[in-house]
């Protein structure tokens, strides 16, 4: 049994105002596991539902959200848990790191107080013991002069240091599950490398389970054990990272890989963008949401719902929701995308 088992998670928000307003579905039947000592990656672009998924697991969605399904943490369903009980879990067993530390740290409270607050609440440590522990935590995440930093306010810290302070708060009670939503997106690459290294160490050395939410395929390739690709609220592909990057089979996954410039690829090769924007979708009940942007889409992709199934050609576990998977294992050789690039480059105007 995995430490966190999310099953059939669906989340909708009321679309307009007033009674009987239509619900808009942000997440639709998503399932995944996060194992202890492993990093599970959740990848997608804006609107894919990846961040909403993490907020639902933490019980942090606004009350207007309609949530169904289950998120079982160590056998207990977080989604069905009363708020009081959830407060005991949040911060202690499950902690979260957000993208922007400036909006998630309290600007008028010192960094030290924000860390000791967590320790005192969940471990009942004395003021002095919590203070010492907080200093050690800051040192552990690589903040120089930790004792001085404890007395400082978030605005006195640089972006990288603020994010490390956030991680220190998340680590305060040695959580068994760490949920990190774009933890390094706001950071410079050299600082990102430091933070990723730190999080990797945490998982390897302490056996923490981590759910990493990101749009950055490079970060995924370096850190995640399993990768789940989301598009428009549903899982479209899942495999372990070596399998996924070596044999991406969903056309959205392969399209993403072909569209990002790589530092180690030969220059002069033209990028192969995915046409359209993430907003050009059709409902999943009417076929594949990616079909309007997909070069291989035909009638089989519209009209019927596509299930998430095991890829029969894969040796290991590889789930896929696609009527016309990439036949070739090398996405850069796909002739269908190379032809008529000018047309392919154009965005559709909605």
């Amino acid at each position: 049994m995995a430490l966190l088992e999310v099953r059939d998670l669906s989340i909708s928000f009321p679309g307009g105002s007033g009674r009987g307003a239509a619900l808009s579905k942000a997440v639709d039947g998503v399932s995944f596991d996060v194992e202890a000592g492993q990093v599970a990656g959740l990848v997608g672009e804006s609107g894919s539902g990846k961040s909403v998924t993490s907020l639902a697991v933490m019980g942090l969605l606004p009350h207007t959200a309609r949530v169904s399904g289950s998120a079982s943490f160590d056998g207990r369903d977080l989604l069905a848990m009363p708020e009081r009980e959830l407060e005991g879990v949040r911060g202690r067993d499950v902690a979260m790191v957000f993208q922007d530390p400036m909006t998630s740290l309290n600007p008028v409270v010192t960094v030290g107080t924000q860390i000791t607050e967590v320790l005192r609440r969940h471990t009942g440590a004395s003021r002095r013991a919590a203070r010492d522990e907080a200093g050690e935590l800051l040192a552990r995440v690589g903040i120089p002069a930790p004792v001085r930093r404890l007395r400082e306010y978030p605005h006195q810290l640089s972006g990288g240091m603020r994010q490390r302070a956030m991680i220190a708060i998340a680590l305060a009670c040695s959580p068994r599950l760490l949920i990190a939503d774009e933890p390094t997106t706001a950071l410079d690459v050299t600082i990102q490398a430091q933070v990723l290294e730190l999080m990797g160490e945490l998982v390897r050395e302490r056996g923490t389970a981590m759910l990493l939410i990101t749009h950055d395929l490079g970060v995924v390739a370096g850190l995640c054990d399993t990768v789940t690709v989301m598009y428009s609220g549903r899982v479209v592909e899942r495999a372990d990272r070596h399998e996924l990057f070596a044999r991406p089979r969903h056309r959205y996954t392969s399209g993403l890989l072909a569209s990002v410039p790589r530092l180690d690829a030969p220059r002069g090769q033209r990028l192969q963008p995915i046409p359209g924007t993430p907003r050009d979708v059709i409902g999943w009940d009417a076929g594949c949401a990616f079909a309007p942007r997909c070069s291989a889409a035909d009638d089989a992709c519209r009209g019927t719902e596509l299930p998430l199934v095991q890829d029969p050609t894969a040796s290991g576990r590889h789930l896929l929701r696609c009527a016309h998977p990439v036949p070739d294992h090398r996405p850069e050789d796909r002739p269908d995308q190379r032809a008529d690039q000018r047309v392919g480059d154009q965005e559709r105007s909605a």
Binding site: E45, S46, G142, P144, S158, G159, G160, M161, D188, V189, T190, I191, Q192, A193, Q194, L196, E197, L198, H215, D216, L217, G218, V219, V220, A221, G222, R241, H242, F245, A246, G255, L256, L257, S259, V260, P261, R262, L263, D264, R267, R270, L271, Q272, P273, I274, P275, T277, P278, R279, R293, Q341, R342, D345, Q346, E347, S349, A350
Partner: protein, 367 residues
């Protein structure tokens, strides 16, 4: 105006000793120290090329881009565009000279007036420079520009909020191209866009360059984007260019320790590469540009720092040949590889090794 008549490869834009110092904040007892955002940059951009400026936040790359166009007033140095010394121009001649140089911004939503429809937004620079006079003529030109950037003519009557991020960036590009500039400075043109859309805009910029003979200065924090799009790249750190080379040379053999660290930190979407590469982790954060370190500005974080010279002598940007190629100028047609590091040869030849370990501050001490 016409870049076609000039010889390709000649210098379109040239900056010497360019500096932008902002007044800093002092206190009752302390004199304010200026913030040295850009501190003595020499730069030559050749006609028809893409010059990439890369660096992390706070390195001064955006300020440099604005200073090149005199959108931010430089405090020292010179900028010459196509033989015209921009810094000597009085307001009206400068306004006219702006037709030659345009800018594309990171966030097109912030740079487009939400209450102006696309026709008015793209037509505004035409009106400002007295081009395509008459409403019918201007409307025709706007539709032509929209076609150029891959938007339908029907977009002209719509407003910025009706478009996606990628489409808005296309509008921003159309607006910049309206006055037929020779030089376009693009500051983070794709970093606000979804990954799948970034490639569309990068390809568009590439096509427009081929079609119109444009010269670009591309400013970005993403080394992979800069490498892909630029012919030559300048790497900036704390207000200065620390390395400059042709894009391929820079990647094949980065010479400055900062470039090495930067490259090793960029994640590559390939688990096989990620598992095997050696990462040079930097310690600490960027020092304040109001109080830059003495000597080499990178020496406080440099994994190759040496006990001599680094802390007390600011290294100049100097030309370095590749090993086995002989004198730098021997290679025909290639641009020099320039680097501002006292120990570049030793780093290149592997005589110096980076001090590993990111979390132990003691490890950054010279071995």
């Amino acid at each position: 105006m016409s870049p076609q008549t000039a010889e390709p490869g000649d210098v379109l834009l040239s900056a010497r000793g360019l500096a932008v110092h902002y007044p800093g904040r002092g206190s009752l007892l302390r004199r304010p120290a200026p913030v040295r955002a850009v501190d003595g940059v020499d730069l030559d951009v050749r006609r028809g090329e893409t010059y990439g400026l890369v660096g992390e936040s706070g390195c001064g790359k955006s300020t440099l881009g604005r200073a090149l166009l005199r959108l931010t007033e430089p405090t020292a140095g010179s900028v010459v565009l196509d033989g015209v010394d921009l810094r000597s121009l009085r307001p009206e001649p400068l306004r006219r000279a702006r037709r030659q140089m345009q800018m594309v911004f990171q966030d097109p939503m912030a740079s487009l007036d939400p209450r102006m429809d696309v026709e008015a937004a793209v037509g505004e620079p035409l009106r400002a420079h007295g081009l395509a006079t008459g409403r019918g003529e201007r409307g025709r030109r706007v539709r032509e520009l929209l076609g150029l950037v891959g938007l339908p003519a029907s977009a002209a009557t719509r407003y910025p909020h009706e478009f996606s991020g990628g489409q808005r960036q296309r509008i921003g590009i159309a607006r910049a191209l309206a006055v037929e500039p020779a030089l376009v400075v693009a500051d983070e043109p794709v970093s606000a866009l979804d990954v799948s859309v970034q490639a569309q805009v990068l390809n568009l910029l590439e096509d427009l360059q081929t079609q119109l003979g444009l010269t670009y200065v591309l400013i970005a924090h993403d080394l992979a984007v800069v490498r892909h799009t630029s012919d030559r790249v300048g790497v900036m750190y704390l207000g200065g260019v620390v390395e400059e080379a042709e894009s391929d040379d820079l990647y094949a053999q980065p010479l400055h320790p900062y470039t090495l660290s930067l490259m090793s930190a960029v994640p590559v979407p390939d688990p096989v590469v990620e598992d095997t590469r050696e990462r040079i982790l930097l310690t600490g954060d960027l020092p304040s540009p109001a109080d830059p370190p003495s000597g080499c500005r990178f020496h406080t974080r440099c994994p190759f720092v040496q006990p001599t010279r680094c802390a007390d002598e600011r290294p100049a940007l100097r030309e370095l040949g590749l090993p086995g190629v002989g004198a730098p100028a021997a290679r025909t047609g290639a641009s020099p590889h320039r680097v501002a590091c006292h120990w570049a040869e030793a780093v290149r030849d592997g005589q110096l090794r980076p001090n590993a370990s990111a979390h132990d501050p003691a490890a950054t001490q010279p071995v």
